[in-house]
């Protein structure tokens, strides 16, 4: 059973050496991912979700960064692998859709060349085949008149079109795992849904697993089977999407849910904000990182860090000393 999992992350920790001391952007994260599954990683900005997604595939910055633990993608141990070794899985096993399509495409290379490159270098295609395939990919991600666009520079495309190109590049070598790091944050609301639906559709067609990283619970609600909620570099709650939405135990998850707008809200409904700010990762207390902002916090919360513990539903766990009651469903709209 467990050897069939596409991704197994165990106790993954990413530490940056900064001028102010060591900073653990990701601290002891463990989870796994089935084949053809979509998993959501949710958290505020600064919760370590981007660093986590990069560390999983070994794409963390190469200087002043230490990674421990284990991340196994389809049997390949990423942690400790050299750049040359990791190159063998990048693109073909795992690929990433980056957050900001304005900065993630090389501004001085034609987009066709940027897609071609992976095909030619990684799959050894010749120039002609690569071009044909690149045009196919552009068509696949829904870019109109792909033959002409092939020769366009990123600057000549809109944000939504660029993000489609970024997706096409990620899909070029048919990866088994697609990491999508806030794939819609830089885009207009109307385009966001298009891109997310495209990702969904492609996932089904190409039989990939997807990790969808976002700060927006609305994005993951209908698209993922399971959700990991992160805070200050740690997992604070994880479970099926349904459990996280309706049976959450961690006050932070509740706060995240309450702070995202819902269509069902009456107009002029005041959104509930999370008081305080995300913690400074350079001087974390020994207790729960969320305690300073939590209205249920007790002395114990400030002194001792809670570990993940199982909740009543299978596969649902949370890290909290004073969890919300088991049936919290009624309080949600």
């Amino acid at each position: 059973m467990s050897d069939d999992k596409l991704l197994v992350v165990k106790d993954l920790t990413t530490t940056f050496a900064t001028a102010g001391g060591d900073l653990a952007a990701v601290a002891g994260v463990s989870f796994d991912l089935e084949r053809n599954e979509t998993l959501g990683i949710v958290g505020e900005s600064g919760s370590g979700k981007t660093v986590l997604s990069r560390t999983i595939m070994g794409l963390q910055p190469r200087v002043n960064t230490t990674v421990t633990g284990s991340s196994i993608i389809d049997g390949f141990e990423v942690v400790g692998a050299s750049e040359n070794e990791k190159r063998t899985i990048w693109g073909t096993e795992v690929a990433m859709v980056f957050q900001d399509p304005m900065t993630s495409l090389n501004p001085v290379m034609r987009i066709g060349k940027q897609i071609d490159e992976a095909l030619r270098v990684r799959l050894g295609m010749n120039r002609k085949d690569a071009k044909a395939r690149a045009i196919e990919l552009l068509e696949l991600v829904g870019i109109p008149s792909p033959v002409q666009r092939y020769n366009a520079y990123p600057g000549q495309l809109s944000g939504g079109m660029r993000q489609r190109v970024v997706i096409a590049i990620a899909l070029a070598c048919s990866p088994k795992l697609l990491m999508a790091d806030e794939p819609t944050t830089g885009l207009d609301v109307t385009i966001q849904a298009q891109i997310l639906n495209l990702l969904d559709e492609l996932k089904e067609r190409l039989e990939m697993s997807v990790i969808l990283v976002t700060h927006d619970l609305g994005v993951v609600a209908t698209r993922t089977s399971r959700i990991v909620v992160m805070y200050a570099g740690r997992i604070v709650e994880t479970g099926t999407t349904r459990d996280v939405f309706y049976h959450h135990r961690m006050p932070y998850t509740r706060a995240l849910l309450e702070s995202s707008p819902k269509v069902s809200n009456k107009s002029h409904t005041r959104l509930i904000t999370i008081p305080g700010r995300p913690p400074n990762l350079l001087n974390l207390s020994d207790g729960c990182s969320f305690a300073p902002r939590c209205k249920y916090a007790t002395d114990q919360c400030h002194l001792v860090r809670p570990e993940l513990q199982p909740s009543v539903e299978p596969g649902h766990s949370f890290a909290c000393w004073n969890p919300l009651p088991v049936n919290a469903e009624a309080t949600l709209p």
Binding site: R54, M57, L59, E83, K86, R87, T88, I89, W90, G91, T92, A95, M96, F98, Q99, D100, T103, S104, L105, N106, P107, V108, M109, E117, A118, V121, R122, Y153, G155, Q156, V166, I169, A170, A172, C173
Partner: protein, 316 residues
């Protein structure tokens, strides 16, 4: 792109116009009657008549400009007062030497700057980066004329290489080995001067480029480090390098003048300085005009190349 180039071309025409007016006006900076100063007191009436015709000196000053400009357009830059040959032919024989020195020096500078800057940028604050950083900073402060004195001292005295001079210079077509030998020292000096600038500009731009998200993106495709450096980092950064080269060309020519003078290589610089010392003003004027127009044209060419390399520029 086309609109951008048209705009630049119009600017180019404007600049050349300013240069021509400036060059024309130079002789009126001379104290006294230009004809007397240019020809000296013992000038024959015939010589004076030729000069009056050349410069249109009997007409009002704005008409003089058009007379002068008309002559220039026909390639008539006047006659050298010292050598009695046309200024155009003086320039024609000297210019290839400058061109050769500069081309060789630029090839050397680029060949050295690009790989070292890439090495440095890959490991900022590494040993190589620190050594090159300190060396280039010091070299940046050492004027080329001191550099050449040191090099001449070192090479000709210690290594016993034959001294160069006007007699030592041989045109490329006659004997290219001797030709290259005689130009290697000035080219090396200019290469050092340029290298320092190119290295620093490229290194600092590469460091910034390597932090861009599209580099991480390129990494995630699983392509080699080498390919990332050349295809993804160098190309955007080469805009800064080309910009530096474009800006550098004017001062490179000037540095070349001094170096030529010190080594007595009969290029434009050497000719210019002789002409200044002998008060051969029409030669000075001709060289100034030619060099200025060339610099502007080269800048325009670099602009064009930068545009091809970075499509963002013409869209702004």
């Amino acid at each position: 792109m086309l609109r951008y180039l048209t705009k630049r071309l119009m600017l180019l025409v404007g600049i050349v116009f300013v240069i021509s007016v400036g060059s024309f006006y130079l002789i009126h900076l001379l104290p006294g009657n230009p004809a007397t100063v240019i020809l000296g007191f013992g000038a024959t009436p015939e010589a004076k008549a030729i000069l009056y015709k050349q410069l249109g000196l009997s007409k009002p000053i704005y008409l003089q400009y058009f007379v002068w400009l008309g002559n220039i357009m026909r390639g008539n830059l006047g006659i050298s007062f010292i050598s009695q040959t046309t200024v155009a032919s003086v320039i024609r024989s000297a210019l290839p030497i400058d061109a050769e020195i500069i081309v060789i020096s630029q090839i050397m500078a680029f060949a050295a700057a690009i790989p070292t800057a890439m090495r440095s940028a890959r490991k900022p604050d590494g040993i190589l980066d620190r050594v090159l950083g300190a060396t280039s900073f010091t070299l940046l402060s050492i004027p080329p004329y001191i550099l050449i004195v040191v090099l001449v001292l070192f090479i000709s005295l210690k290594l016993g290489v034959s001294a160069t001079g006007p007699s030592a210079y041989v045109p490329f077509a006659t004997d290219w080995i001797t030709n290259l030998e005689s130009l290697s020292l000035p080219a090396f000096t200019l290469a050092t001067v340029s290298y320092v600038i190119y290295y620093r500009v490229l290194r600092s731009d590469l460091i910034a480029t390597l932090q861009e998200e599209f580099i991480t993106m390129a990494r995630s495709k699983g392509i080699s480090q080498r390919r990332i450096m050349w295809r993804h980092a160098f190309r955007p950064s080469s805009v800064a390098l080309l910009g530096a080269a474009s800006v550098n060309i004017g001062s490179l020519l000037a540095a070349g003048f001094v170096v030529q003078y010190l080594l007595q290589i009969p290029g434009l610089g050497y000719t210019l300085i002789l002409a200044i010392n002998e008060s051969d003003f029409l030669v000075v004027q001709g060289i100034v005009l030619t060099v200025s127009v060339l610099v502007v044209a080269i800048n325009f060419f670099f602009d064009f190349v930068i545009n091809i390399v970075d499509p963002r520029i013409s869209r702004e």
